[in-house]
C-alpha cells in the first residue's frame, strides 16, 4: 500500500515507536506518580523524559507546563474551555479544523464572542485582517499552524507578535504543523500550543499534548485522581498533574518521546525539505494532467505536505475508492472535518481528495501516484 493519508495519522512509525511500546508494556508499565515502587518510578521517569524531548523540540522552557492528552482535540478543548471566560472575544480563521471551530461554537453559549477571519482561496491568512478584528475584549487568537485541507502555512510568528503587542493570548493548533515545520513557542510568541502525537510527531495514536505558558490560569478539564492532594475534593491546578487526571497512557507517551527524539535527530528542516520536495513533485505531476484541479498555494514553500485536488467529472469519494481499490493508494476524500476550510477554497459542494506524503514516503511512490491519477483522470 502507498500510504498518503499522513494528514490523518502517520504511517509507518519509526521502529523505535513499536519497540518502545513493547518494552514498556512487557517490562515495567505501572502507574506513574501513584506509588513509589521501582516500576511506577521508572514509568514516571520515562514519561518525564518525553516531557523533556517535547520541550526541546518546541523550545518550551518549563517541561512541567506540558500536559499529556489523548489527542489534539482533547488538548484544544482543554485549553479553550479552560481559559476562555464569558464576555471574552476570540479571533480565529476560516481555515480551522472542527476541533477548533466546534469548541468555539459551543463556547458561544457561554457568552464567548467569536470572529472568524476569512482566508483567501488558497487558504492564506492576512495578519492585517486579524488586526482589524481586535477589540478591547479580545482575549485570544487561535489558529492552526497549517491547514489540514490545503497545507497552507499560517503566518504564525507575525500573528504571535501582533497578539503579544496587543496583550492578547496566542494559541496554535499544531495538528498539521508539529513535526512538519518549525514551531518555536518563544520565537513565535505562542502562549498555548496543542498538538497530536500520532501525526507529524510520528508517535502512537492515543497521544497528544498541550503546552500552556506559565502565568496563564486554566480551569481543570477532567476532575479526578491525580495522585496528589487525595483528601482535597477540589481538583488541583498544579501543572501538569492537575490536568492529567486518571491513569495516563504511559506506553504511548513514552513511545511518543522515542518518536520525538527520532525527529530531533533527523532535524525538522531535513524532514520539511524532504516533504516539500515530494509535495512539489506530486503537485507538479498532477498539475500537468488534464482534468485535475489543485487547491491551496502553488508555491510549496508556503505549505506543508498536503495536496488537495479534484478530478473533473468524478466524485472525490469515487476517486479515492479507485486510488485504493485499483492502485493500493491510501488517500482521504470528503470534507476532512473542516467545512469552513472547504467553503474558503470553494469546494464546499464537492469536497476534495487529499494526499499527504510523510518523511517515509519515497519518490517512486509519488511517481506511481501521479501515474495512477493520470489513468483515473483519463477515465481508463
Amino acid at each position: 500500500m502507498i500510504y498518503l493519508d499522513n494528514g490523518a495519522t502517520s504511517y509507518p512509525k519509526p521502529p523505535e515507536v513499536s519497540e518502545t511500546i513493547m518494552d514498556v508494556t512487557v517490562n515495567y508499565c505501572a502507574n506513574p506518580g501513584r506509588a513509589g515502587h521501582f516500576m511506577a518510578a521508572r514509568t514516571a521517569q520515562e514519561i518525564f523524559k518525553t516531557r523533556l524531548s517535547v520541550a526541546r523540540l518546541f523550545n518550551i522552557e518549563n517541561p512541567g507546563r506540558i500536559v499529556f492528552t489523548k489527542n489534539c482535540t482533547e488538548s484544544i478543548n482543554m485549553a479553550l474551555k479552560g481559559v476562555l471566560l464569558p464576555g471574552d472575544h476570540v479571533i480565529t480563521t476560516s481555515m480551522e479544523h472542527n476541533s477548533v471551530l466546534r469548541p468555539l461554537h459551543s463556547l458561544k453559549q457561554n457568552g464567548v464572542k467569536v470572529s472568524t477571519v476569512k482566508c483567501d482561496k488558497a487558504g492564506r491568512l492576512s495578519v492585517n485582517d486579524v488586526k482589524k478584528e481586535i477589540t478591547p475584549r479580545t482575549r485570544l487568537i487561535v489558529m492552526t499552524a497549517a491547514s489540514n485541507v490545503t497545507g497552507t502555512k499560517m503566518p504564525v510568528e507575525e500573528t504571535g507578535r501582533l497578539a503579544l503587542r496587543n496583550g492578547i493570548l496566542f494559541m496554535v493548533d499544531g495538528a498539521q504543523g508539529a513535526g512538519h515545520m518549525d514551531i518555536d513557542v518563544k520565537k513565535q510568541h505562542i502562549d498555548i500550543l496543542a498538538a497530536p502525537g500520532h501525526k507529524g510527531l510520528l508517535g502512537p495514536q492515543g497521544t497528544g499534548f498541550l503546552y500552556v505558558r506559565e502565568g496563564i490560569y486554566m480551569a481543570p478539564f477532567l476532575d479526578g485522581g491525580t495522585g496528589s492532594r487525595s483528601k482535597d475534593l477540589e481538583q488541583p491546578v498544579d501543572f501538569p498533574e492537575g490536568y492529567e487526571a486518571g491513569t495516563v497512557n504511559s506506553p504511548g507517551i513514552i513511545a511518543l518521546g522515542a518518536a520525538v527524539r527520532v525527529i530531533s535527530k533527523l532535524g525538522i528542516d531535513v524532514i520539511e525539505e524532504h516533504e516539500r520536495r515530494l509535495t512539489e513533485k506530486l503537485q507538479r505531476g498532477l498539475s500537468e494532467i488534464p482534468g485535475i484541479e489543485l487547491y491551496g498555494p502553488e508555491d510549496t514553500y508556503e505549505k506543508t505536505a498536503v495536496v488537495a485536488m479534484n478530478i473533473h467529472g468524478i466524485d472525490c469519494e469515487e476517486v479515492a475508492d479507485v486510488f485504493n481499490n485499483r492502485y493500493g493508494i491510501a488517500v482521504r476524500a470528503g470534507f476532512h472535518c473542516s467545512g469552513a476550510a472547504h467553503e474558503t477554497i470553494g469546494t464546499e459542494k464537492t469536497g476534495c481528495v487529499r494526499l499527504c506524503p510523510s518523511i517515509y514516503t519515497t519518490e517512486k511512490e509519488i511517481e506511481e501516484t501521479i501515474a495512477a491519477a493520470a489513468e483515473i483522470a483519463a477515465g481508463r
Copy 2:
C-alpha cells in the same frame, strides 16, 4: 518483582495485548471512520470487534452505545457533566474515588446537589440508607462497583433495582469491578457504566469506555472532528462517534478487545475465584502477624482482590518502601485518591498500604509477601 499494585494498573498483561498493539502499529494502523481505504477500514473493523467483545462481557445490547475513552476518569467526567443538569440531585457514597467525587464537587457550582451516603467501617453500603436520601429531584445514583481502598463490593444489583423503581438513573464506576466481578448492565439495571481498560480488563493504558443506555441524552464532552457531518459546527450527538472526537487510540482499543476476549475465555467467575482465594490467603496470613491491622470486610466473598493494611508504629509509606526496596514487592501506600474512603474506614490520618493480586498472581508470591510483612512488622 512481585507486582501487587493491580488496583492502579494491571501487570503483566496477557501476551495477546502486546502482540496486538505491535500488529496494529506495525501493519495497518490508520484513522478509523475518516477514510475509506483498506487500512482505515481494517482499523475501524477491529475497533468494532472490541465494541462487540466489551458489549458481550457486560451484557450490553447495543455495542454502538459504548464510547471509547482514554481512561475511567474521562468516562466518568463525560457522563456526569453530560447528563446532570442544574437542580438535579445526585446520591453517591463515602467510598468513592476522587474520579467520582471531584467531578460531582465541581458540578455543585452548576447547581447540582449531592448527597453522600456514609458507608460502615468496612466500607459497606446500606441500600436502605440510599433509599432515605431519595427526593423528587433525585436524578442519579452513582457509585463504584467495589472500593479501590478496601475492595468492598457495593450492592450493585439491589441499588439498581431501587433506582429503577424510583425512576432514577443508575451509574456504576467499574474502575475496580470490571474484570474482577460480574457486571451485567441488564441484570443489575445499570444505565451508565464507566470502566478503565487497563485495570481488571487487562488491556493497555490509554483505554477506557463509557456505556450509556439508549434513551439517555448526554451533552457532548469533547467537541471536534468526528469524521461525520463535517459542515456542521454543532457537535453531533450520534453514538458513538459524537463522543469520540479526534483520533482514537486504535492500537489500544484493539488490544483491549484482545484482552477482553482473554477474560471472556477464562471466565469472570474463574478469575474472581482465583483472586478471592489469593486474597483470602493473603488476608489470613497478614491477620496472624502481630502489629498488623487490616481494613475492609473480613469475608473475602464481600470484596474484590484488594487488601488494605497498616503495620503498627510504621508509617505506611515507609512500609511500602521496605516492601519495594528490600523485597521487590510493589504495593501502593497513601490515600489512593480517595480521601473520603479513608475517612470512612478510619485511616484519614495514616493512610494505608494496599496490596492487590491479579489473575496472574501466584500462591508463592502471596506466601513471600506474607513472610516479608512478618519481617517488617517484627522490625527485622
